[in-house]
């Protein structure tokens, strides 16, 4: 499969940078609004 093909130096460099871009966001704290949203959705379910 293509994935297993050895990557060129450029491809590696690009993917490394893509991972850094991704990593930067992934390491951010998730805003509280999402925990609150999930809690509200759960409450709605429970009250059904």
């Amino acid at each position: 499969m293509d994935r297993d093909k050895p990557k060129s130096g450029l491809e590696r460099q690009i993917d490394e940078n893509l991972r850094k871009v991704y990593q930067k966001t992934v390491e951010e704290d998730v805003p509280d609004r999402f925990a609150e949203l999930l809690r509200r959705l759960k409450e709605q379910d429970d009250s059904k």
Binding site: D2, L10, N17, Y22, F34, A35, L37
Partner: protein, 194 residues
């Protein structure tokens, strides 16, 4: 709703929270704007929650959530019709063409170049290049053929290389035929289609 399942954690809704960070990162790569990304994640969570019975337990929930997320993104964008025009290169003119002294890509330049790619290339690169999705998984997530994903990843990489003015000796490593074909067609026609 019947919640009596074998195990307490068998409710797939409980798994959504696990993918929050990845969803935010994927959303940001599509929207290129933090608050728009969070709005998109919020809409995705609500849709996922309400359609959870359509999720097949045992399959990849992250891919399922990403599918909802990107469908929401494109549907919103179709509705608003904004931003489409600026994707293909208008902003690219302002992009710095100079690589760092050592020829490596500076992160800021890279992020700028990445943000200027068409969204289809951004998502393909994010899924395959950054998150390690297989081409098959990415194709399923984006509801396109595997070949389409490969082509988008390839074009995205080529455009990043071109935008960042990466040096010739490094450029020579991009010699496989399909890549060269993309480079040549990109350069000869100045076409920036996804």
């Amino acid at each position: 709703m019947n919640k009596k399942t074998d195990r307490e954690h068998a409710d797939p809704k409980d798994e959504i929270v696990v993918h929050l960070r990845a969803m935010r990162a994927f959303a940001l790569s599509l929207t290129r704007n933090g608050s728009a990304a969070d709005d998109l994640v919020q809409d995705t969570i609500v849709k996922a929650w309400k359609n959870i019975e359509k999720f097949d337990p045992g399959t990849n929930m992250r891919a399922w959530l990403f599918t909802i997320l990107r469908n929401t993104f494109y549907s919103d964008r179709r509705k608003s019709k904004r931003e489409v025009a600026d994707i293909d290169g208008k902003m690219a003119a302002t992009l710095s063409q100079k690589p760092d002294h050592d020829g490596r890509m500076a992160m800021a330049d890279f992020e700028t170049a990445f943000a200027q790619l068409p969204s289809e290339q951004r998502e393909a690169l994010m899924l395959v290049g950054a998150m390690g999705f297989s081409y098959e998984e990415a194709a399923e997530t984006c509801a396109v053929a595997v070949g389409t994903i490969k082509s988008r990843v390839n074009r995205g990489r080529v455009r990043l290389v071109a935008a960042l003015g990466m040096s010739d000796e490094e450029g020579m490593e991009l010699t496989d035929k399909s890549t060269m074909a993309v480079i040549n067609s990109t350069f000869s026609t100045k076409r920036h289609s996804a």
